[in-house]
Amino acid sequence: MKYYRTHILICVDPECLGKGAHDIEDALQDELVAQGLIDEVQVLETPRIGDCSHGPEMMVYPDGVHYVGMSVDDIPFLVEEHFLKGRVAKKFLLTKVEVKDEELGAPTSKEVRVVLRNCGKIDPENIEDYIAEDGYEALAKVLASYTPEKVIDEMLASGLRGRGGAGFPAGRKWQFCRASKATPKFVICNADEGDPGAFMNRRVLEGDPHAVVEGMIIAAYAIGSSRGYIYCRAEYPLAVRTLNIAIQQARALGLLGEDILGSGFSFDLEVRIGAGAFVCGEETALMASIEGKRGEPRPRPPFPAVSGLWAKPSNVNNVETYANVPQIMLRGAQWYASMGTEKSKGTKTFALAGDVNHTGLIEVPLGINMREVVYDIAQGIKDGKKLKAVQIGGPMGGCLPEEYLDRPIDYESLAAAGTIMGSGGLVVMDEDTCMVDIARFFMEFIQDESCGKCTPCRVGTRRMLEILQRICKGDGKDGDIETLEMLCRQIKSTSLCGLGQGAPNPVESTLKHFRKEYEAHIYEKRCPAKVCKGLIRFDIIDACTGCTVCARNCPVGAITGERRKLHVIDANTCIRCGICMQVCNFNAIVIN
């Protein structure tokens, strides 16, 4: 394997591409070859480095330098300055990080912001800003007047449950880890956020990194650890950068390192970049990955609190879990426990997406019901359509129908409904969504992401996907539903890790709540939502003006007809791409 000393990540999101990202990349390659650096510096493509408004953008690792706005002609200069002379090319340095308002708007009346309280408000790269918002006050308070046991008691009393998905009480986890005798112990922050579409953790890391750092220091004090890791996915270069800046600044102020605030307690922290697989978010796989091994889960027990990173006691929590800690210490467990339901305390962030009028990041007290989220916060379904389902919990979550809208969002209610809280993915789907297709989509994701270590997940999810694909193609058979149900049960009960154990959820929940749609696909060869290509046909109705746009755009020439006369689609040639429907200005093309 080649060893590169430096990596350049170039953003290839549409906006940056529009500004010539590919040309920049080619120019960089050429220049690196010309300068004989090509074996030392690797150029990689990545989505989203900044907000693309200064594109093209690039990030240089491990230096953590963020360049923007260069042109092809600037490349020789940039390469010479940075990679030959080792000087930062100031001219292209990004100076200001902008807040992405599309992701995080002003809070609506139903929201309560604890974790997100500083996001978008303070400069994340300036520790003073955080301190001005009571930052590190909790740490000072804890170190000065709390014993580790007292910290854990407060955590237990607050009722905070892990926000990474499983919802295990954070205080209990800390307690177990404290009780482990072996040393050293490790505090680990899970910032791998792999759920498709989720960005709750990223926003906290980018917008308020010190809250996470402070939470981890407090956790370390409570369990008796002196070393921590933040495992952040590689796709979050900006978060890595803000975290590194935050850690440096905290170190400079004596908030990390030896003898923190003169308390005699020492702790330091390091960012590790993830290996890029979804399963690396599973805690045992994550620790294997930090150890430099293949990111694969292993059976628990032993739990990380007993034998984790390098077989030492370790505490793994999610970004959001840690970000809650300073506020709990500062404002008291009672305050935190006053929000939420009996067993699900506090607030939770969600990444709202789908067919609603308002999408983005929200933070709500637990116990709020789905209807409030969909209709009050998200302002209802787009285009006046009807709601069909809410998908909650990410790829291992499930789909809930309309009837569940009035149930509270808390760990127990969601579990009872056949889904999970997950890390905060919340997708609202309107009547045009095919639930079989959705199940197939999640299965595809899982199948791609199964690490392959254990038999049921490696092989079983493949079987499920094959059946779902068949059903969507119109080749469903009698017995498929029963086979799917059985596979769900088998995979759930025999898989090694949470991925396999949760993989059947999307299928199981849609089978439970939307069984009719499966039956329509299989027995009537019909896709009620008109999504599954194998089960629909495009037709042109009388509204056609004979403008010929559709015929000209059809990639396979399936449409014929004379100018100003009704056009026809040859169903045998048509590949159901839907382009004609998009281009027709007269709504003359329909799906049957």
Binding site: Q447, G452, K453, C454, T455, R463, E466, T483, S493, T494
Partner: protein, 748 residues
């Protein structure tokens, strides 16, 4: 044992040591929980999910912290909500396990079904067919019919060479990672890895050269399916057609227990060895062999084996003769003559004993010596201060020190390397190495001493006092040593210094302590033990008589030379009479390993041509010289020997052929444990006591002054496993390795 844990499995109580996993505990009471990825010699990973069982622990009242009991006093069991993998879950006090509930049986069924959906329908042509755990478990636990379509099976590359010795069939692989874990955790050759993930996950080798390891053959035994096969055996035979005969590997001092799998070949009209399999002996090789031991066997049926006695004719050419003529000629030449006998250290005890007796009892004027000569200079010390009779490498661990001096364990005694490495890496023994160069064992050393070439004896004599003081506090001290770059005198000096260290540190004559010599072959100790102490004749003699001698330097000057051999080697080609001997596979006999374990091997093949066992040839000449010997077989020779040789007193073929049940058991119906290694039917052998275990050996030998460095000895090449030689040269599968090591030696 104090630390026994009590649990019940399907209601049957069992007490097992702390730390044992449920699978093993169940095995103790003959409950074979099916497994694929678990292997008792490897660290568990819990990935195949075949072993799922229902586990519960006694319910504890949170208030009183006492076990909750039913009215009749039985503890209430709190069953875990999910099935647990029996291979990763350690037993705990009061645990209850259910292995036969509907839920458990369903889970097994499901996992098997999943595995089968991606498994080819290969059994009829698969090398594992007939001894395949997947096949067996499917019959026992599998679904009658698969619910999935055959077309949906994933098709993958078959017959992918992972190296020149091992092939992979990607369709058959069930991704259990046993092969990877063996290479990583046992052999410490990190040559295999999973590539990609999910359904695309596959085994790849990423070393250069590929699958670069001396131990790869073992992965084909422990692979639970027919995914890994050896280049040697693939498609050669079906396991059930094979006869198997217990034997002992003749290629290094370990003396691995093996099974020779033979079959009658209609093509060649004779029997031949189809494969060599490890035979379990937890005292010797557990269930492993090295690849040399596994693949070197082809010499037994090499085309150029000697099949007739040869005698040099009047024109000076070696021509075929009869046994009668040849034997008579040898007897005539030897009668009343000055005879110098040399016997190779691969020859069996029985032959060596008769050869020794020939010189002490029959011939008037003769002397006998062992070839190679250097080990003969220190074998008496290695024996006297050798490891104690009850030594068990498995017990070496924390508190013990292993000292390796002047030898390369992996090259010279591969399976000892595996075992002692585990004592250090897994069980915490301390390793100190003193050598003139680096070796694989150096990876695990806590202290390394490097001395100049040829200075081993000097180093040891200078360090004796200091090391003895340091080692006093160790629980046990095992000293492994080799004779690289040393003359006979130098090697003896080294052995004496090392013996002194044992004596002065208080570890002489103890179990798990002692000297462990890296002898060149399988029976160096045995041949040495069999020979009378005669003074070596110098100068030209009348008759030189060579039995299996490979080293030209050991051939005495003589007017007439007799050679007993398998091949027409250069030495044989210069002889006056050449007598065709039989290989170890064609006869019975016994060897004494480097750690003095006496072990029997059995006849697996009919003799080739007119070949005869060496002991028979010696006896026939002796008879013609007037001896009254009447041995009908090796057991009689052995019995006679044991009466006169004090070390072997009390041993007999019967005692050597006894086999105790081994743990973990291999070769049972489910095949899951040791894979296809053979269980031990031929006997586990017996180690004779080291003289130092009797009294009178606790005063130090005289202080040792090392002799000057021997310039000639500096030219000796260090031993490597695939070093070119008459036998290994005839194994085609190993020829590439032999060539590579020859090249390496030439450029060194």
């Amino acid at each position: 044992m104090a630390d026994l844990i009590n649990l019940t499995i399907d209601g049957i109580p069992v007490a097992v040591p702390r730390g044992m996993v449920i699978v093993d505990a169940a095995k103790k009471i003959d409950n074979d929980i099916p497994v694929f990825c678990y292997h008792p010699k490897l660290k568990p990973v819990g990935m195949c999910r075949m072993c799922l069982v229902d586990v519960g622990t006694p319910k504890i009242d949170p208030a009183t912290k006492q076990v909750v009991r039913t009215e009749d006093g039985k503890p209430v069991i709190a069953w875990m909500p999910k099935l647990q993998t029996a291979c990763t879950t350690p037993v705990s006090e009061g645990m209850a396990v259910r292995t036969n509930t509907k839920q458990v049986l369903d889970a097994r069924n499901n996992v098997l079904e999943f595995l089968l959906t991606s498994h080819p329908l290969d059994c009829p042509i698969c090398d594992k067919g007939g001894e395949c755990p997947l096949q067996n478990l499917t019959l026992a636990h599998g679904p009658g019919l698969s619910r999935f379509e055959y077309e949906a099976k994933q098709h993958n590359a078959k017959h992918v060479p992972l190296g020149d010795l091992i092939f992979l069939d990607r369709e058959r692989c069930i991704q259990c990672s046993r092969c990877i874990r063996f290479q990583d955790d046992v052999a410490d050759d990190h040559v295999l890895q999973f590539h990609d993930r999910g359904r695309h996950m596959e085994i790849v080798t990423f070393s250069d050269p590929p699958f670069d390891s001396y131990f790869g053959g073992n992965t084909t035994d422990i692979c639970p399916v027919g995914a890994l096969t050896t280049a040697d055996f693939r498609f050669k035979a079906r396991p059930w057609e094979l006869d198997s005969t217990p034997s002992v590997c003749t290629h290094c001092p370990v003396g691995c227990n093996i099974s020779l799998n033979t079959r009658l070949e209609t093509r060649t009209g004779g029997h031949e060895i189809k494969r060599v399999m490890p035979r379990q002996n937890e005292q010797v090789n557990e269930i492993w062999t090295c690849d040399k031991g596994r693949f070197v066997h082809h010499f037994t049926r090499a085309e150029d084996r000697l099949t007739h006695p040869l005698v040099r004719d009047a024109r000076g050419k070696l021509v075929e003769s009869t046994w009668e003529a040849a034997l008579q000629l040898v007897a005539d030449k030897a009668r009343g003559a000055r005879v110098s006998g040399v016997i190779g250290d691969r020859i069996a005890n029985e032959d060596a004993h008769l050869f020794g007796s020939l010189f002490s009892d029959v011939l008037k004027d003769g002397a006998v010596a062992m070839s190679p000569a250097i080990p003969a200079a220190y074998a008496d010390i290695a024996r006297a201060y050798g490891v104690g009779k009850d030594t068990d490498f498995k017990q070496l661990g924390k508190g013990d020190t292993i000292l390796v001096v002047n030898g390369d364990l992996e090259e010279s005694a591969p399976v000892w390397f595996l075992r002692l490495r585990q004592a250090v890496v897994d069980r915490g023994a301390k390793l100190v190495i003193a050598h003139d160069r680096s070796s694989k064992m150096h990876r695990y050393a806590s202290r390394i001493v490097t001395y100049e070439l040829g200075m081993a004896a000097h180093w040891a004599s200078e360090q004796t006092t200091e090391l003895s003081a340091e080692l006093k506090s160790a629980r046990n001290v095992l000293i492994v040593f080799g004779d690289e770059k040393l003359s006979a005198e130098g090697a003896r000096s080294l052995a004496r210094s090392l013996a002194n260290i044992l004596i002065e540190s208080g570890h002489a004559g103890k179990a798990n302590s002692g000297l462990l010599p890296l002898y060149p072959h399988a029976n160096t100790q045995g041949v040495f033990d069999m020979l009378p102490a005669t003074t070596v004749t110098t100068g030209k003699v009348d008759v030189a008589w060579l039995v299996g001698v490979g080293n030209a330097a050991d051939v005495p000057q003589a007017d007439f030379t007799v050679v007993q051999e398998l091949f027409l080697t250069d030495i044989a080609n210069n002889a006056d009479v050449v007598l065709p001997a039989l290989s170890f596979a064609e006869r019975d006999g016994s060897f004494t390993s480097g750690d003095r374990r006496v072990q029997r091997f059995y006849r697996a093949l009919p003799g080739l041509g007119q070949g005869k066992p060496d002991w028979w040839i010696i006896q026939e000449v002796a008879k013609r010289l007037g001896a009254t010997w009447q041995y009908h077989g090796t057991s009689e020779v052995f019995a006679q020997m044991a009466q006169h040789n004090p070390y072997y007193a009390g041993l007999s073929y019967e005692t050597l052929s006894q086999a105790e049940p081994q743990w973990p058991p291999v070769g049972r119906a489910d095949l899951y444990y040791g894979g296809t290694a053979y269980d031990n039917s031929g006997g586990i052998g017996s180690r004779y006591a080291a003289p130092a275990e009797q009294s009178g050996f606790n005063s130090s030998l005289e202080p040792v002054v090392a002799p000057p460095v021997d310039m000639e000895a500096l030219q000796h090449l260090p031993h490597t496993l695939y070093q070119d030689g008459e036998l290994i040269r005839r194994s085609k599968v190993l020829s590439g390795h032999v060539r590579a090591q020859r090249k390496e030696a030439e450029t060194a």
